[in-house]
Symmetry: C2
């Protein structure tokens, strides 16, 4: 393998866009860098992939060290590798995103976790490295995903109200949804268990609580299925669906 030696001088990292939902807003967990390069800047949590470690395992490790969470929604999104993205040498990074329930998150003892903080995705700017680009790519993936898979539940506590769920969808899609149509659609999926409980201590009519029916979802998945959700209101995107035939 001598002739290839020159290629074995690069490194790769994973970066993890850890997303949560809180106060009606999508949040991302960022680390304040204590070292050069980009000392003092906020960055996505990530690290070098160990020589004997698979990529997915590295992403899980980063997540676990920071949040203590496992068995979390995690997906590879895209790899970023422009030549000069890292001052230490040629380093490409594989971007992942994960969805967690902020209520499950407790700050870990590790020194890295001490520097972590939730930021509103919409207001994030000027991250270290090419992390703004990575965050954008991952958030866009989530926007697509939420329309095609019921992943929203990964971000909510086990019991939630339909309005909370709707607000989550609205935060991700950055649009408003019609309450009645949203409920009709979600309930027609048959993936929610009505817990026959209601909120307590709220200054208005208490809402019913629901739970995601994970078992039924796995059944549907096994059969192969499609799940879709479209936006409402008049902010319609132009769609070919409305164009008329050009060749009569």
């Amino acid at each position: 393998m001598n002739e290839f030696n020159e290629y074995f001088k690069s490194a790769f990292t994973v970066d993890n866009v850890i997303l949560g939902f809180d106060e009606g807003d999508m949040k991302v967990l960022l680390i304040k860098r204590g070292e050069e390069p980009y000392k003092g800047k906020w960055a996505l949590p990530g690290y070098f992939v160990y020589p004997n470690e698979d990529l997915d395992a590295a992403a899980k490790r980063v997540l676990d060290e920071l949040t203590g969470l496992r068995n979390v929604y995690l997906e590879q999104v895209k790899t970023f590798g422009t030549v000069n993205r890292h001052p230490f040498g040629r380093v490409i990074t594989v971007a992942y995103f994960s969805l967690i329930k902020i209520s499950d998150y407790a700050i870990q003892a590790s020194s890295i976790a001490q520097k972590a903080k939730w930021h509103s995705v919409a207001r994030v700017k000027d991250l270290a490295f090419d992390h703004n680009e990575i965050l954008d790519a991952c958030f866009n993936r989530l926007k697509w995903l939420i329309r095609s898979r019921p992943v929203g539940f990964e971000l909510l506590p086990p019991k939630f109200t339909l309005t909370e769920l709707q607000h989550l969808y609205e935060a991700i899609l950055e649009t408003e949804l019609d309450k009645r149509n949203f409920r009709k659609k979600i309930l027609s999926m048959n993936l929610l268990i009505d817990l026959d409980e209601t909120q307590e201590g709220v200054a208005h009519r208490p809402a019913r609580l629901y739970q995601f029916d994970k078992e039924k979802y796995e059944e549907f998945l096994a059969e192969g299925f499609s799940f879709e959700l479209k936006e409402s209101k008049k902010k319609e995107k132009p769609s070919f669906k409305k164009a008329s035939p050009s060749f009569p």
Copy 2:
């Protein structure tokens, strides 16, 4: 950067799933390996990324050397990096796929190109490395893509008939489509230019020829749009759309 030296001992490659359409069938361009490892096996075209080369540039280079083509549809799909996927050491590979018109393809002079051959995607098996997995991932991406973007035209000659286009969709989606519904849908997109020409020398009523309206497509893209195509016939997948509400 001393403490990180141990990480700068890995390499990365790009592998390119080059897809074409011919004889009613999706084809992938493979290389017969002349060297160890996997000598004699078919493999996806790929190579190490040069130290001063961006990932996309490397994918373009591989494509160009093999086919002589540039300005071709090319997209990053996924990165594969299990620990022992390459016998030379830690090598992760970034998978790309490209769509080309087989009619534009002419075997190049380069020694690598001499070993290239088109294979029917459906019949490919036992590739070198983890290339079967990579091919699957890329082909699945295309299946998704063809339903959401008009990329089919990348695979057809400049002038084509609606039946050719339909057969392409059927080959990619691995399903059958209804002729009338397909035409209605495609024409209603307003993205085809009727050339007012017909086929010649066919032993049946000659079909009209169409051209893809690239300019109009760019306009639509600029505005942001959605393009969708659903399958027909009774081979329906179960869909939540038909489920009934669970909470009346």
